[in-house]
């Protein structure tokens, strides 16, 4: 697979954008998660209104072979509704925090979607035939008069317009006191884990009334709480291994074979802090917002506020690679703390071959880093550069006093336009970038 930007033979270009163009963005339309399925054929998005929209990749048309094919709406359904916790007198948001696809095992597709409290397993199936010629009812559904039935006929299957149905098959509820931040399907395809601020539970996909608590960092005395769980993920190949990250910038790898309760980690990943760069916000910016295993399973990637780090699972004391996402914000941390941007949780993702990584930034910028060539690129998801097959122009933020022509100064960045969620196709160079209420799809330019 080609890397991020390898000279003249590889460039990113605009493919599609989904969502309203209106300047006034409805809160419910803000995209909160993006995820490709295992084959890349389906792309799911969740929003703050609790809806899930699934796009399907259509095959390239013969008349336009230079295009990879487009993603069109495949199914839309309301996954979660706002609920009211009568015990706490609190409203539970319907915002979809995460979507994770299950590996496809038959014609139907399954995905897990979660809000703050409840995880649901959805089955998305197609129906393109229907039976006609029932004996007891007419075609419009009305019951036939039994006395008028004089002969017996066998119903036949007739083709119909494709209908995609989404039905909730399992609802995993009442297992999390705190807000769920992560779900991850295990490689055994039978279990999955869900993580909230203080606990991680292990579920079986078939059993909804029970879950195993495998990590609990809640202190006996809540006064002593100084650390929360921020993300968790199962190892892609070893079904007994998972990792979880914390608000203090640490990652713990746990082995479920060691004990039923994985409070004692097997490996502890932390980079020693540079004392010279310490500030009031050192801990806040070290808080890890996302952790992702590489497809190979040998590395994992963590995202904190200013950087992305690649860790070798065999080395705990420091990451093997560190990429600065927007180092120019380090001198602005005070302002970013004041306007709450410092608490933004950016996600990160690998490409299919683990040769490149991608993460979002502000001003609708997103960054890609090629691990092999050591090149990085900053691109922007904007309507202005949304012409079909238009090549994306690299963007640059000027940090010095002199600003070049095409550069943008740090003070001109729009911190309301933040790209928190991105996804990379598991096989091709196709990326999905969520910019507030719009979903941008970019692909490499086939020359």
């Amino acid at each position: 697979m080609a890397g991020v930007a390898g000279g003249n033979d590889f460039q990113w270009c605009f493919s599609q954008v989904k969502g309203a163009i209106d300047e006034d963005v409805a809160e419910a339309d803000i995209i909160s998660t993006v995820e490709f399925n295992y084959s890349g054929e389906l792309l799911a998005t969740g929003d703050k209104g609790g809806r899930v929209v699934i796009f399907q990749h259509e095959q390239e048309s013969k008349s336009r072979p230079h295009l990879r094919g487009e993603y069109n709406v495949y199914s839309t359904f309301q996954s979660h509704e706002p609920e009211f916790d009568y015990l706490k007198s609190l409203e539970i948001e319907e915002k979809i925090n995460k979507i994770r696809w299950l590996p496809q095992q038959n014609a139907a597709h399954f995905l897990l979607s979660t809000n703050d409290k409840t995880i649901k397993l959805w089955k998305i199936s197609e129906r393109d035939k229907r039976a006609e010629g029932y004996n007891l009812k007419d075609e419009d559904g009305r019951l036939r008069d039994p006395f008028r039935i004089t002969s017996l006929r066998v119903p036949v299957l007739m083709p119909m317009d494709l209908m995609v149905e989404a039905s909730p098959r399992r609802i995993f509820a009442n297992a999390h006191t705190y807000h769920i931040n992560s779900i991850s399907v295990n490689s055994d395809h039978e279990t999955y884990l869900s993580a909230d601020d203080l606990r991680i539970n292990l579920w079986h996909l078939e059993i909804t009334d029970r879950s195993f608590n495998i990590v609990d960092i809640k202190p006996a005395n809540m006064e002593e709480l100084t650390e929360v769980i921020t993300a968790a993920e199962c190892h892609p190949h070893q079904c007994n291994v998972f990792v979880y990250s914390s608000s203090k910038g640490t990652i713990r790898l746990c082995d479920m074979r060691a004990a039923a309760l994985c409070d004692r980690h097997s490996k502890f990943f932390e980079e020693p802090e540079d004392p010279s760069s310490r500030s009031f916000f050192s801990e806040i910016i070290s808080s890890i917002s996302d952790v992702k295993f590489s497809h190979s399973g040998r590395y994992m990637m963590t995202r904190d506020y200013l950087s992305v780090k690649v860790w070798d699972l065999n080395m705990e004391n420091r990451p093997v690679e560190t990429y600065q996402v927007h180092e120019y914000l380090r001198s602005k941390l005070c302002s970013l703390y004041e306007n709450d941007c410092i608490f933004d949780k950016f996600e990160c993702c690998w490409n299919g071959s683990d040769s490149a990584i991608m993460t979002g930034s502000y001003n609708n910028f997103f960054r890609m880093f090629d691990r092999n060539t050591r090149r990085d690129i900053t691109l922007e998801a904007s309507r202005e550069s949304s012409k079909p097959r238009a090549t994306l122009k690299p963007r640059k933020v000027s940090t010095g006093g002199k600003r070049k022509k095409d550069e943008i100064s740090v003070d001109s960045l729009d911190f309301n336009k933040k790209i928190l969620h991105t996804a990379w196709h598991p096989k091709d160079n196709v990326i999905a970038v969520a910019a507030t209420n719009n979903l941008y799809i970019f692909q490499d330019k086939i020359n």
Partner: protein
């Protein structure tokens, strides 16, 4: 820039900011402290504030309190203090945490708390005790412990069901938790406050809620309604959590005068994780942590002073 295993670069813009003797650092510290308090209070007004955010803000305040405790005072800090400078403390805290974190996640939190008690000097020690206790009060209400508590509880800010000792007396039980933070010589506490007097109330454009004039104005109106101060109010949906803030922010100081205290408010107002404690529907079973009780301190006037001060923050 892509580098392998590179630690954070030492930014030249940060030189002055990290130099504790630099006035820029001091002003930034005050600003961050004030913003943190403001941020926390506003966060508590939300129906369900984010636990991660609250923990990060509390840790930031804890760190600033720790650094302040270890700042050399004018006429204090014995020469043989174990901690000679802020850098050592800063390095000591992470070193305290890192080894313990390798063993057990829960141990990290206890060591972080214990780091607060390593301040040098008598007054700074007491101040750190106060800071630790104040931050403890923050976290007592963290737990939304439906699982532990079989009884449906009414949501009252700054309470943790797990740490509650149920009592029909609304203000009696708090003594166990609140007094802990204020043990020690009151004179020592006054010394600490004298040091803290040196810090000016930061007036920043960002702080729309904490100007001193507003607070003084609130004093007058607060005299009319003393019922708000003691006891618990019914907490239904939409109960403003910020109204209970002053009960947990003000230290109990019988010798404090209103104006003197207000000038130190930015130091005293450490946040409390209020909204993480869904609480019983019976108000009597939920004592407030730091609600002042005239039974503890002699003198009705002192109680009234406390009433005024707490009412100020209620209104703010």
């Amino acid at each position: 820039m892509i580098t392998k295993g590179q630690k954070r670069k030492y930014s030249p813009e940060e030189v002055e900011a990290t130099d504790r003797s630099n006035p820029i650092w001091e002003s930034q510290r005050q600003f961050v402290f004030s913003v943190s308090l403001n941020k926390y209070q506003r966060g508590q007004e939300l129906p369900e504030p984010s636990l991660r955010r609250s923990v990060l803000i509390a840790n930031t305040l804890r760190q600033m309190s720790l650094e302040f405790c270890n700042a050399p005072a004018e006429d204090e800090v014995p020469p043989d203090s174990s901690l000679s400078g802020p850098e050592e403390v800063q390095q000591e805290s992470p070193s305290n945490k890192i080894p313990s974190a390798k063993h057990h996640p829960a141990q990290v939190v206890t060591n972080s708390s214990s780091a607060l008690t390593t301040c040098s000097g008598v007054s700074s020690l007491h101040s750190s005790h106060y800071a630790a206790a104040a931050i403890s009060s923050i976290l007592t209400a963290l737990d939304s412990n439906i699982e532990e508590s079989p009884q449906a509880v009414q949501r009252t800010p700054f309470q943790s069901l797990e740490n509650l000792s149920r009592s029909s007396e609304g203000s009696a039980t708090w003594v166990k938790q609140g007094v802990r933070g204020f043990v020690g010589n009151l004179e020592e506490w006054d010394e600490c406050r004298v040091r803290e007097n040196q810090m000016e109330v930061t007036r920043s454009a960002y702080l729309t809620d904490f100007t001193v004039e507003d607070l003084f104005q609130d004093i007058d109106t607060s005299l009319l309604d003393k019922d708000k101060l003691f006891g618990l109010r019914g907490c239904g949906v939409g109960h403003p959590a910020g109204d209970d803030l002053p009960r947990y922010l003000l230290p109990i100081s019988p010798s404090a005068s209103s104006s003197q205290y207000l000038s130190n408010q930015n130091l005293k107002c450490l946040p409390s994780f209020s909204s993480f404690g869904p609480l019983s529907s019976s108000p009597a079973s939920l004592p407030t942590i730091f609600s002042p009780s005239s039974s503890l301190f002699p003198g009705q006037n002192q109680g009234l002073d406390l009433e005024h001060l707490m009412e100020i923050l209620v209104e703010s």
